[in-house]
Amino acid sequence: MLQFIVKRFLWFIPTILAIAAVTFVMMNLTPGSPFQPAGANNLREDIIKQIERNYGLDKPLPVRFVIYLGNAVRGDFGESYTRRPQQVNDIIARGFPISLQLGGMALALATVGGLALGILAAVNQNGFLDYASATFAILFYSVPSFVLGIFLLIFFVIWLPEWTGWRPFDLGGWDGPSDWILPTIALGAGPFAQLARYTRSSMIDVIRSDYVRTARAKGLAEQKVILKHVLKNALIPVITLVGPLFAALGTGSFFVEQVFNIPGIGKFFVVSMSSKDQPMIMAVVLLYGSFLAVMNLVVDILYGVIDPRIRMSIRGE
C-alpha cells in the first residue's frame, strides 16, 4: 500500500510539470504582447521591448520556463500584468477561498443529495420515486451548469419578485448566505444527478448479486441487507466518479461565477485569458491542476482503503 502511494505520489510531479509546460508553451504561442492589447494604447516598438525586458520576457522560452518554475516552487507566482502592482498570490488568496467555498457547497449538495436519491431510487426500483428521480437526474445531468444558472436567475431573481413581490435573492454577488444558494444549486445539480444515476445502477447491480440473495435467504432484515451488504459494496465504483466530479465542479465554477458575478478565481481567470495576463493564467491552471491531481490521488488511496480486493491486487503487483 505504502509503495503504491509513493508511486502514485511520484507520478504527481511529471503530471504537474507537463501541465505547466503545456500551458506555458500555449500561452507564449498566443499572438500579441500582453502589453499591447489590440487596438488599445499604441506603444512604440522600442518601449514594448523595454517593458518586456523588465519582465524578463526577452529571454528564450526554455530559460523563462525554468526561471518561472524556480520561482513557483518557492511560492512566488509573480506580479499580475493587468492588475499591477498586485501579486498573483494576493489575487488568488482573495478569490480562491470563495471558489473553494462554492465548490465545497456544491460538492456537499451533490454527494449527500446524489447518494440519497440514488439509494432511494434503487430500493424502490421501478417505483414512482425511481422514475421521478430518473427524470430529475437526466434533466440536471444534461443541462450545463451555466444554463441552469441562467434559468435560476431569470426565475428566482427576476420573475418571482415581479409576480409575488417577494425578493429572496439578489442579482449575483457574494455577500451572504442568500447569495450562496442559487450558485450552489447551479453548480451542484449536474454532479448531483450524475451521482444519483451512478449510485442507482451500482446498487441495482449489487442487489442482484448472489451474496445479497444469500443474505436475504438467511432471514436478514431488508434494512440490514441494504445498509450492510448492498451499500458498502455499491459505493466502491461510485468513488471512481469523484475525480471527474471535481473536474466538473472546477471548470463549472468558471462559468457559474460569471453568471452570478461571483469574485472567485474563475471569474479572474476568464478575464485574464482575454487580457493575456500570463502570470495569472499560469498560476490558476497550476493551482487547479495540482488540486485535481491531489484529489485523484486521494481517491485512489481511498479506493484501496475501502476495497480490500484492490489493496491485495496492489500488494501482489
Binding site: T15, A18, I19, V22, T23, M26, M27, L29, T30, P31, I138, L139, Y141, S142, V143, P144, F146, V147, I150, F151, L153, I154, I158, W159, L171, A247, A248, G250, T251, F254, F255, Q258, V259, V270, M273, S274, K276, I281, V285, Y288, G289, L292, A293
Partner: protein, 309 residues
C-alpha cells in the same frame, strides 16, 4: 486484462435469440444493427431524442429557408430589445436583429461544431487507440502516458487555453475540441482492442496468415464499432456544450455570427429589463443537450455497450 470471451457479444446474441423467440418468426435474419434499431424504437425517450436531433439537423441545414431575416441583419434598430410579438416570435435583440432568425442560424453553428469536432476526434483517436491496443508494449506505454497527461487537465480548460492561443472563431473551436477530445476516444478504442485481441477468431486469423493491418481493419475495428458509435453520440453534445460555454464568456464564436452561448452571454447585460435574449438560447442549449442524452442513453442500451469511463 484479457477476457476469454467478450461478454457484450454474448449478451447481444442472447438478446437476439430472445427477440426471435418472442417474435415467433423463425426465418427472420436478425442482425446486430437491425436488432438494436428495433430496441431503440421501443425506447420512448430515445425516440423523442432522435426526433429532436433530426429536427435540429433539418433546422441547421435549411436555416436560410427557415429564417425570415439574415443571421446578423438589423431588422428594426428603433425597436431593439422588443419582447416577443406576432411579427417577431422571439423578439428583437439589443441591436434590433430578429432573435428567431439568429436562433435558427445558431442551431447551424452548434451542430456544425458538434459534428466536425467529432470527426476530428475520430480521425485522431481511433487510429491511436487501435494501434495502442493492438500492439501494446512500448507503443502502448508511450501513447497512454500522453493520454494521462491530457487527462490531468480538464478538456474545457484546455480548450479555453487553446482557443485563446488560436484566436476565436469557428474553425479554431473545431481544432481545439478535436485536439483535446481524442483522448477519451483513444482510451475507449484501446480498451475494446485489448479485450478483443485475445479472442479465438483473432488468433485463427493470425494463424491463417493475416497481416496486422488486415486484422485491425477487418476484424478489430468492426467489432469496436458499437462503443465508438455510442461515444460519438455523447461526444457531439459535449462539443456543443464546450462551444456554448466558450461563446458565453466571449472567447468562442465571433460576433456578428450568432451562437446560442454567445447570445446568452450578451443577453446577460440586459437581464433586468428583458429576459427573452437569454431565455430562448438557454432553452435551445438545454433542449439540444437533453435530446442527445436521451438518444445516447437509448443507443447505449440498444447496442448493449458497457461504458467504462
Amino acid at each position: 486484462m484479457a477476457t476469454p470471451h467478450n461478454p457484450n457479444i454474448e449478451q447481444v446474441s442472447q438478446a437476439q435469440l430472445l427477440a426471435e423467440a418472442a417474435d415467433a418468426a423463425p426465418t427472420r435474419q436478425a442482425s446486430l444493427w437491425g436488432d438494436a434499431w428495433r430496441r431503440l424504437l421501443r425506447n420512448r425517450l430515445a425516440v423523442i431524442g432522435m426526433v429532436t436531433v433530426v429536427l435540429l439537423g433539418l433546422i441547421a441545414i435549411f436555416a436560410p429557408l427557415l429564417a425570415p431575416y439574415g443571421q446578423a441583419e438589423v431588422v428594426a434598430a428603433e425597436l431593439k430589445l422588443m419582447t416577443p410579438s406576432w411579427n417577431f416570435p422571439m423578439g428583437l435583440d439589443q441591436n434590433g436583429r430578429d432573435m428567431f432568425s439568429r436562433m435558427v442560424y445558431g442551431a447551424r453553428v452548434s451542430l456544425l461544431v458538434g459534428v466536425v469536432a467529432q470527426i476530428i476526434v475520430l480521425a485522431i483517436g481511433v487510429p491511436i487507440g487501435a494501434i495502442s491496443g493492438y500492439f501494446s508494449g512500448t507503443v502502448d506505454n508511450v501513447l497512454m502516458r500522453a493520454v494521462d497527461v491530457f487527462y490531468a487537465i480538464p478538456q474545457l480548460l484546455l480548450v479555453l487555453l487553446m482557443v485563446n492561443m488560436l484566436g476565436p472563431g469557428m474553425k479554431n473551436i473545431f481544432i481545439a475540441i478535436g485536439i483535446t477530445g481524442w483522448v477519451t476516444m483513444a482510451r475507449l478504442v484501446r480498451g475494446v482492442m485489448l479485450a478483443n485481441r485475445e479472442q479465438e477468431y483473432i488468433k485463427a486469423s493470425k494463424v491463417a496468415g493475416a497481416g496486422n493491418s488486415y486484422i485491425i481493419m477487418r476484424h478489430m475495428l468492426p467489432n469496436s464499432l458499437t462503443p465508438i458509435v455510442v461515444a460519438l453520440t455523447f461526444g457531439i453534445p459535449q462539443a456543443i456544450f464546450i462551444e456554448a460555454s466558450l461563446s458565453f464568456v466571449g472567447v468562442g464564436i465571433r460576433p456578428p455570427q450568432p451562437s446560442w452561448g454567445q447570445m446568452v452571454g450578451t443577453g446577460q447585460q440586459y437581464i433586468q429589463s428583458v429576459q427573452h435574449l437569454m431565455l430562448f438560447p438557454s432553452l435551445a442549449i438545454a433542449t439540444t443537450m437533453l435530446a442527445f442524452t436521451f438518444l445516447g442513453d437509448g443507443l447505449r442500451d440498444a447496442l448493449d455497450v458497457k461504458m467504462n469511463d
